[in-house]
């Protein structure tokens, strides 16, 4: 089985923070939900940013979807196929209304206006967010914003989801809803989170970033999760 995204000897250093990623080898395979943990400032977000080319690696290779990606123009395709969910939903929702925001991605992928709106409506409906189309994005609650950003990402029909602390600042109900939604999705995922319970229910594998190295960690699977992953 070939990896969707693979890094070899990935290296990154900040001018003042120092080395955050030191020769990191990592691979994400189809169907995997990898939990990425680590202390604050360990470089987890940086790692995801490198994968989609928002930051340029100081060394090493990134292979995504079967090709070596090293320049900005290579990453345009990667970003279309790897949906990135940002930490703060406000950074992601910038259009006036929900429908426009969800349709933004498909439009950039070259879909016509009607197709894009159709995709946007379908995606919203599939997440149970129909009826939100005309809502003003900055007036949504935190949980709603999170679900809409997920819709924005899914509307681009990605193969991989990169989730940066998706459950932060959600209340119990919104968190549960997000969790159930993510569990039902077939995508390979990398999930950054400090929410252990959240991760335990989702993860099929866990890696920890500490001292700029990526270390595999055993996962504590609940019975329910085991049977589910086997079924998948």
């Amino acid at each position: 089985m070939t990896a969707l995204i693979e890094t070899r000897g990935l290296f990154y250093r900040y001018p003042r923070r120092g080395v955050v990623l030191d020769k990191v080898d990592f691979a994400l395979y189809p169907g995997e939900r990898v939990a990425l943990t680590g202390a604050n400032g360990a470089g987890k977000t940086t790692f995801l940013h490198l994968l989609v080319g928002l930051k340029k690696a100081k060394g090493g290779e990134i292979h995504a979807f079967g090709e070596l990606r090293s320049e900005e123009k290579h990453f345009v395709e990667v970003r279309a196929r790897a949906g990135f969910l940002f930490q703060d939903p406000d950074d992601q929702l910038f259009c006036p209304t929900v429908l426009e925001d969800v349709a933004f991605g498909p439009l950039n992928l070259g879909k016509s206006r009607d197709e894009a709106l159709q995709i946007a409506r379908e995606t919203l409906a599939s997440l149970g967010m129909d009826g939100f189309e005309e809502r003003v994005t900055h007036q949504l609650s935190g949980g709603e914003k999170r679900m809409i950003t997920l819709a924005c990402v899914l509307a681009m029909n990605p193969d991989v989801l990169l989730l940066d602390e998706p459950s932060t600042a959600l209340d119990t109900e919104a968190r549960r809803r997000l969790l159930n939604t993510l569990k039902s999705l077939p995508h390979a995922m990398i999930i950054i989170s400090h929410d252990d319970e959240f991760l335990t229910e989702l993860e099929t594998r866990r890696v920890r970033l500490s001292d700029a190295k990526l270390v595999e960690e055993p996962i504590q699977q609940t019975v329910a999760v085991v049977s589910e992953t086997e079924a998948a």
Binding site: F86, P96, F104, L117
Partner: protein, 260 residues
Amino acid sequence: MPQFLEHSGTSWKGQRLKHTQSLIDSVDPRVRVVAAFFFALVVVSSAQFSVLLIGLGTALVMARLAHLNFKRTLRRVIAMDMFMIFLVIMLPFTTPGEALFELGGFLASKEGLLHACQIALKANAVVLCLLALVGTMSATTLGYAMARLRVPDKLVHLLLFTVRYLDVIGQEYKRMRRAMQARAFVLRTDRHTWRSIGYLVGMLLVRSLERSERIADAMKCRGYNGRFYLMDEMALGHPDFVFIPLCALFLGALTGLNFI
């Protein structure tokens, strides 16, 4: 900032102000923007008092037609008047001409007083007309109307992004301000206050900059390539075909009055 001077933008952000649909709302946004523009042009370049009075009267009628909330409109008009109140007060004393009265050794001229009145009339007429025609549409609609009127993309994006993030930045400001208050910070006139407010403003700029970078990243992640797509459709309808000739006729007559 005192309540009555609150920025008009604060009530734009929600869009969901209590506003009953009116005759004006049935007119196409583009037509409203263009009409307001030409109205302002005609009124500002007129010098006859009769024209200015008719202009103000028309603006009042339009405000009435647009179902403007009386209190909110008054508040905004006063806010604008505050800007020029000094000009209006100073003008009679600084313009040379026929003396009208004396105040504390300074002579007020008739020409100055008339000029000041003209300026006040013009400004109020234009602002009322803007509030009635343009102020009744949401900021987003205004952005789209401008885009359709071939206003440069960059300006339109600037407006749309401002509308979207004004509230976010405002909340960031309030959060920091509250955090300061929570540590017993009180505004005073001393170095400590000035420095702290300086930090506050500086931090707000830094955070806004960082946020803008994150937004740009997020847009890139969704395949942004420098192009925005407008999602709305605007089409001229029956009310527009009544409004446009009426407007043209009226503005033409108003211009003509100047030469009588």
